[in-house]
Amino acid sequence: MSAVVDRTAGGARTTGPERGENPRGGRRGDRAVGAASQAVLVVWTVLVVAPLLWTLVSSFKTTQEIFASPFSLPTSLHLENYVNAWTLAGIGRYFLNSVLVVTGALVLTMLLGSMSAYVLARFPFPGRGAVRTLVVAGLTFPIFLAVVPLFFILQQVGLLNTLPGLVAAYTAYAYPFTVFFLVSFFEDLPAEVAEAASIDGASEWRTFFQVMLPMARPGMAAVAILNFVGLWNQFLLPVVLNSDQGNYVLTQGMASFASQAGYSVDFGALFAGAVTTIVPVLVVYLVFQRRLQGSVAQGSVK
């Protein structure tokens, strides 16, 4: 992959020295570089799309067809793969668990995160620097260091292997990212508005929820979308903290399905399960795609 890029890069150098009106040779070289660059992008697109497309096509094939040839099209649309994945493999149930846990955690994270970020951004108080440093620390340390004690903390409060326990863990681990991102956002909001609101007699609560939060909507939306993708894809926390199969979330369910498929060999249903897992996030992405790309842009500037 990178070798291809390098070759393009080497070609570009030869077109360098021309100024303004390119002599004919330079123009031809330029076109060659352009064609090579376009080729690189096409190859890259194929590399991205082919595995996903193959998964989609395979999800309509029977296991025999999948192993007969990786390229063959399904003889007929074997929609029973989806039914099997949804019911027999329990993907339907895991899907519902994922929706419940992610929704709960997302709402909590955004609420707690925005309140904390607001205070950290707007009110100087002793120890503010230390609090900020501790938030960044939570972003840097590997979660793996914390999972063992976390397991026992949840056990002690009786939330191990429960969905509320997962919501709590998801929220806590999405909190530092949310605060970190939103602090810089609240800092950029004009201070005069908040001051005007409090002079008009609005309480801190009202100032925050009715004045500041609506102003922060673009930043909130961006963080919410990134959090949604992150929480929906979360794997380690549920695997450690939630070993009750009835409470599995989608990622866990897919992992256990994949490890069982080795024995019962319903690969058609495995692919169907994969498609079922991808589609909701892909839809959210395609709908909010502009906003998400914008938020990535913001993240890169902060």
Binding site: R31, W44, P51
Partner: protein, 299 residues
């Protein structure tokens, strides 16, 4: 203010920061998790890790990932981002390749696919008999790849795994770099071109220094991800691969803690992993400072 910051922050301290310190303490004990005793053993667990061949293999593999994955992802995504932003025809104004918007949307797809599903899909692609990869290779006449087990061969398992992780992240960082490059004043590129700079020169002398802050942040994130890599490994080779060639520290922590019940040892491994992470982050920041990137996070 107590409600706004105090309560959420205490919750965060209890669930995230407190476990970190607790783990550090457990690493000095021979705790098995299910007995109330936590016999203090000092640095005994660490001494044991130092002589534990399995753990050293895992640590070595994790370090391989740490060195290779961020470097490959950064170079490839930066190159693609340059093509999309100013790699277009040199006639007329500076612009990217045609179809930039399309490439941006498509490149982002892997990022929204859950990592475990990416792993599952690629495990099928690498499948010796029914997989897409061997299907393509044999179709173009490379018959020696018939039934070749990419994930089952010591020589290829790690490379194949790295390819999956790289595949998963290039698009995300490409989009990030595209956004950062678009924040640069286009006149800089125009001026450079009038002075005779080609695309490579523009990329290295204008784009790269201008977005160095973003690259540094991205490098740190990618490194932390590469040190984890747990999901991908669990999906591709749950047992550490042929001859433990893809066994990583996180898998070792997981099995030591939750299959063998040696929580003290597992926590010691976690501390080692955290130290490696901190060392890596410090190193990246130091290198970028030497290269003259300003201290602030803003690029």
């Amino acid at each position: 203010m107590v409600v706004f910051l105090g309560l959420p922050f205490c919750f965060y301290v209890l669930m995230v920061l407190y476990p970190f310190t607790q783990a550090t303490y457990y690493s000095l004990t021979a705790w098995t998790g299910f007995s109330p005793e936590q016999p203090f053993v000092g640095l005994g667990n660490y001494a044991r890790l130092a002589s534990d061949g399995q753990f050293r293999t895992a640590l070595g593999n994790s370090l391989t990932l740490l060195v290779v994955v961020p470097a490959v992802v950064m170079v490839a995504s930066f190159a693609l981002a340059c093509l999309l932003t100013f790699g277009g025809s040199t006639a007329g104004s500076v612009r990217g390749m045609r179809g930039t918007a399309f490439y941006r949307v498509v490149s982002f797809f892997p990022y929204v696919v859950p990592a475990i599903v990416i792993g599952i899909i690629w495990a099928q692609i690498y499948d010796p008999s029914g997989g897409l990869l061997n299907g393509v290779l044999t179709a173009v006449g490379l018959d020696r790849f018939t039934d070749f087990a990419w994930l089952g061969d010591v020589g290829t398992a790690m490379g194949a795994t790295i390819a999956v992780i790289v595949w998963a992240f290039i698009g995300f960082y490409m989009v990030l770099f595209v956004a950062a490059i678009q924040g640069i004043d286009p006149e800089l590129f125009e001026a450079a071109r009038l002075d005779g700079a080609g695309r490579v020169r523009s990329a290295l002398s204008i784009a790269l220094p201008a977005i160095a802050g973003s690259v540094r942040t991205a490098y740190v994130y990618m490194g932390i991800l590469a040190l984890d890599a747990f999901v991908y490994m669990q999906a591709l080779n749950p047992n550490g691969g042929p001859d433990s060639s893809t066994l990583v520290v996180t898998q070792q922590i997981f099995s030591t803690a939750f299959s063998q019940g040696q929580f003290g040892v597992a926590c010691a491994m976690g501390v080692v992993l955290a130290l490696v992470t901190l060392l890596f982050v410090g190193l990246v920041f130091a290198v970028f400072r030497l290269l003259g990137v300003r201290g602030g996070a803003r690029g």
